[in-house]
Structure formats: structure tokens, C-alpha cells
Amino acid sequence: MRRLLTGNAAAAWGARLARADYVPAFPITPQTEIIELLAQWFGSGELRGRLTLLESEHSMLTAAAAAAATGVRVFTATSSQGLLYAMEMLYAVPGWRAPFVLVNVSRGLASPITLESDHNDVLAARDSGFLQFHCASCQEVVDSVLLAYRLAEDPRVRLPALVNLDGFHLSFTREPVDLPTAEAAAAFLPPFESQGIEFRAGRPVSQAVAVLGGSAYSYFRYETHLAAEQALQAHGAIAAEFAQRFGRRHDAVERYRSDDAEIAFFMIGAFATKAMDAVDRLREAGIAAGLVRPRLLRPYPAAALQRALAGKRAVAVIDQNLSVGKGGVLHGELASVLYGQPDAPLLASYIGGLGGRDISAGEFFQIARELQDAVLARRVPPPRLLYTAGELRQMRNLQAIAAGERGMPEARA
């Protein structure tokens, strides 16, 4: 069934096709359409179960994990400030080993406050223990929700999963989406299995208890880490089954015209489609460019990335996030798995697309040129913060207006 859907509607459809039993919710722009649609479907009986509006995202995450630990399939969604408000629980609940799916609609973090997208919110959850999927299209959003449930609920894994889509660029953009039928989705994703993690009278369970000492603590932390690593292998098999059933391949690492490329862009999320466009135009101009895009960020597909990038001459990591005082998060992560590898490319760092700022075709070409220069000079250029002279001029204008506004009372007097 092919339909025009926004990224938000696609996320809600993912939950519907997964037959989520329970949706604890709290509204935040740009996520609201997801929970409103689900509320409608629970109301009309198209979806069986319950949506409960909590009074904060911290409570929402607590309720989500508590319900999962009681043995039902749980879906929830948030964005930006909401994700950070829930951060304490985000780090706490993976250790409960009660899987569920959380959709994050990426939005830049205050300050200054904005509604538009970048990835600092979701990367703050990077080390939490949630599996992390990053989508570049509305189709991928539906598919990733289903894949995320399969992977999260896999007996080798049993960890919650986060599916990320970019605010506005995906959340509010309508794209044609192939919706799996309910039967096909059910065949791919069987009913939720608690595997004994559930609260029932007569079978007492103690969840999330305290430990005394570093040995017990380390044991459980390592166990969670190893489960996340096992998810990498499990993901391969699950993605292959998905491709076989639905005809769409969603590998942990997507390679776009990169196999014979000399230079490559490295990005996650919706803006990667802009990079694909740039790759096509660079190829037309005779430049062997490609794109490498991890869909799975946790667990980190290190080996697949090493394979995908070995032999490239230079790679530009374009980070839509900023680790203040360090730079791009994805750049540092990629460097850590390429360092010391035979045939590792030069690795350049670019920050761009913060708070919804566009990355233009011209900028992709400029980056490609700088990579070519780096190859010739055998030197990595310093990290760059993308910003144009035109933007700076506009900003100066705004600052002049702000200064004028501040001066106004005196001016009147």
C-alpha cells in the first residue's frame, strides 16, 4: 500500500504495524503529530491498547520501561528538550533489559532555543545503552521502527531502541511510503515475548536493584555492552530477512556510489540525501565521489565502516552536531575506528546544518575540492564550521537591529 506520509505519520504507522500495546506520551514540537495520530487510532479502535499522557518525559520514559518490564509492547516518542529531560531514565532503563522503541524527532538544543533540527539531542543519548537507528527518508522511518522492534526484542539483545528522524526535514515532509500490510508486518514481527521479564503475582522479580561494589556493577555494565555488540550480528540477519520480505535493504551502513569513490562524504540523517545529490553532480563533473551513511550508530558498525572506507583517499565527516570545545562527534568516533588501519583515508571535519541551517550544493562542492587538495598536499585541513559571508552579513544586520532596540528608550527620551 503506497501512501504520501510525513515522517511523523510514518513513525506512527511503524508503531501501528508493530501493534504497540502501550504509548506513554508527552507533547513537544516537532513530535506531536506522532502521538496525536496514535491517540486517534487508540480512540477509534484501529489500535488496541492504551495511550497515557504523562506529566513529563522523565515520567514518560519511566512508565515506558516499567510497562515493558511488565510484559507489553511499548512505543513512545519525543524530541530535543524532552529527550534531555528524560536523560536520567534514558541511561537507567537499558539495564532493565526490557525492550521498547523510542522515536526521537531531532531538534537543536537550547541555547538559543530553536524548533529546527540538528543531532545534538540524539547524540546526548549516544552512550545510554539504547540501540540507535538514523533515518534519511520517511520510508526508512516506518521500516526502521519495525526493524528496531525486531532487534530490540531479539533474545541476544533485549535492549531498548531509539529511532531518529530529523525534525521538519522528515517530520513534516510528505514522501511516498510503501506501507507493509498488517499481515506482512505481523509475519516479520511476532507478538512481544517477555522472556520471563514481567511482574506477576506468585513469580516475584526484583528489577533494577542496587549493587554493592564495582565488580557487580562492572559485570552488569559489561553484559549490557556485550548485548549491544551482539545486536550488530543480529541486525545483519534481521535486515536480510526484511529485504527478502519487503524488497528494501537497510544495512547498518549505507554506501552510495562509494565503492569506487576516491573521496567520500560521511553523514547521518535526512541531509545525507543532499550529499547523494552532490555525489551525482560531482560524478557528472568527473569526480569520483561517494557517500557513506551509518544507519545504525549504536551498536557502532566499526568493521563495516572500516571496509566501506578502506582505500578512499579522503573522507569529509559532516557533523550536524557540535561537541562544544571538541567539534564533531561523528568525526571523533570515525577517527577512532580508522586510526592505524591499513589504507585509512585522510579524515576532515566539517560542522554544518545546526538548528536547521541548510548545507548547500555549493558547500558540498567546496568540501569535495578541499578533500582533493588535501589528497594532493597529504595533509588534513583544519576542522571547519560551515558559515557563509552572506550569513554573517545578515547576522550583523540582526545584531545592529538588536543594539538599536536596546538603545530605544534612551533614544526616545
Partner: protein
């Protein structure tokens, strides 16, 4: 009221909460919890917030016959919500035989109940969540060394109220905050009056919806008294009128015990090191009078 709960000997004789936990000797909170567990039985899941009681379940041991879920300091009621919602969903689907159903009990200290967890609590009451909220009130952040919480009473010395007159603010009225939201039930209890406590647990158990059990919890290290005196101090809290025993049911507040004659508050205060500065080196007549007049005003309004 359950006619079977008339005398002390009507109280359960089997004890469900295991001994040998990491709590202090003479812990008034633990005393109340023991009594409450015996009455609630094993078909419970205690959803805990960070507090002294978090250490009750320390891997691989638990003193509980039922289940346990530690959440975080702020969100025990939300944990109870998730568990309850999930059990309801399973039950609607016919996937939960009635005998496997559980009562969700949020178990927190006063700090979580009156501060960091108050919005989660208000949300749960507003949603009509079917749960019991058990707050044991040691009048401070006990687990972290007894700093002042919103439940710390006027004049008490805490790790953060070390001035000459002790804690400068009055105790937050958690019971009134609950009652303002018209819950199914709310009661104050104390481990030192097990019969009154048992009747209230019995009543709470039979109801559905948000139910508060607020237990004053004399705390030997936090309040500075000898562990052997905990029960006596608890009784004095009631006899001086400092800790009114009451319940809210069917839309009305009823006092289950009206102390008569009321002892002067000093009888209670002078037994505890946290109030010693009100008596030594000289009497702090202003603060002592203020505490007494607050208690007097309370009971005047009750008996009016």
C-alpha cells in the same frame, strides 16, 4: 472497618518482610514498612524512588515476598503507572489471570514525595492511577546525610540547617496537597500505633485509585536519639499533637485519634538531638512558642 482488627492480637502474626536489611537499627520507616507488608501481602510490586529504602533490595538479596522495581528519585509514581497500565492491558486481553494481578505500591521518602517527585505524584493522582503511595517521612534527605527537605519541621537541625534556630521553614503539608486533589484515600500513620496503621491499610487496600499512606518515620541517626527510643518518640509525636493521625475518605478528613489532653510539644522535642539547640545552652523561647502555637492552631481548627 474490618471488624477483625479490634485489638493488637488481631494483627497478622506471620511476618512477610525479611530481616537483616541494610537499614539502621531502630528505623521508624522500616517498622512501618514491616507492618504494612504484613497487611498488603505478597501480591505487590514496590516501585521505589532513591532513598534509604533503595538499599533494601541489594543484589542478590531482597527482603520482599513480592516484586520490586527501582526507578529514580523523581519518578516512582510514573513507574507505578507503567506497571498498572501494562497489567490492565494484559488483563483486558485475557492474558492476565486475576490471581496474577498485583497492587502497585510507590515507596519513597519525604524528599521525593514533597519535592523532586511531586509533579509525578500530582500527575498520577490526576490520572486517577490505581496505586498506593507509601511515603515514610524521616523529615529530611536521610540517605544523603539528613539535609533539610521540604518535610523538615520548623526548628530542626539538619546537615544544612545548622544555624542557632535550626530549620527556618515549617513542614510542608503533604497530606493536604493530596487531599486537595481528591484522591481515593489518604492517611497518616505511624509504626508506633500498629492498630491504627492496620485499620488504615485495611481500608486503603479495599479501595481503588490513588491512595496515600504517609508514615512519620522516627530516624535515630537523622534525629539523634537512641534506637531503643524510636517507638516512644513516635508515641510522643502523636500525644503532643505534632503528628495528627487522620484519614481522608469519602471526601472528608477524619481524625482517628484526638490526643486529649495534649502533651506540650517540648516532651517530644527534648528527646531528640536535632532540637537540642532549642533548649541548650539557653531556651529558644521564640521558636519553641512558634512550634507550640502552630500545633495549637491546628487542633483548634480540627476541634472547632
Amino acid at each position: 472497618m474490618n471488624p477483625a482488627l479490634r485489638r493488637m492480637k488481631d494483627l497478622p502474626s506471620t511476618h512477610l518482610l525479611g530481616a537483616g536489611s541494610a537499614m539502621c537499627a531502630g528505623c521508624g520507616g522500616l517498622l512501618a514498612l514491616h507492618e504494612i507488608c504484613d497487611l498488603l501481602g505478597a501480591r505487590t510490586v514496590f516501585v521505589n524512588a532513591a532513598s534509604c529504602m533503595t538499599l533494601l533490595a541489594s543484589y542478590p538479596f531482597t527482603p520482599f515476598r513480592g516484586s520490586w522495581l527501582y526507578t529514580a528519585m523523581a519518578s516512582a509514581p510514573a513507574g507505578a503507572q507503567g506497571v498498572r497500565d501494562a497489567l490492565d492491558i494484559l488483563s483486558e486481553r485475557g492474558r492476565l489471570p486475576p490471581e496474577q494481578d498485583l497492587t502497585a505500591v510507590a515507596l519513597t521518602g519525604d524528599g521525593a514525595a514533597t519535592g523532586i517527585g511531586l509533579s509525578a505524584t500530582a500527575g498520577a493522582i490526576d490520572r486517577g492511577l490505581d496505586f498506593i503511595y507509601l511515603c515514610y517521612d524521616n523529615e529530611g534527605y536521610g540517605n544523603t546525610g539528613q539535609q533539610s527537605s521540604p518535610a523538615t519541621p520548623l526548628g530542626a537541625r539538619t546537615a544544612t540547617s545548622t544555624g542557632a534556630h535550626g530549620h527556618p521553614a515549617s513542614k510542608m503539608d503533604l497530606f493536604a496537597i493530596w487531599v486537595a486533589q481528591r484522591p481515593a484515600y489518604a492517611a497518616t500513620v505511624i509504626g508506633a500505633d500498629p492498630l491504627d496503621l492496620a485499620r488504615k491499610i485495611d481500608r486503603a487496600r479495599a479501595l481503588k485509585g490513588p491512595r496515600l499512606i504517609h508514615a512519620l518515620a522516627p530516624c535515630p541517626p537523622g534525629w539523634s536519639f537512641d534506637p531503643a527510643e524510636g517507638v516512644e518518640i513516635g508515641r510522643l509525636a502523636v500525644k503532643t499533637g505534632i503528628w495528627p493521625l487522620k484519614e481522608y475518605v469519602d471526601g472528608r478528613v477524619v481524625h482517628t485519634h484526638v490526643p486529649h489532653p495534649r502533651l506540650p510539644v517540648e516532651e517530644y522535642l527534648k528527646r531528640q538531638g536535632r532540637f537540642r539547640h532549642l533548649f541548650e545552652p539557653g531556651r529558644d523561647t521564640r521558636v519553641l512558642a512558634q512550634i507550640q502555637s502552630q500545633v495549637d492552631a491546628y487542633w483548634e481548627q480540627v476541634c472547632a
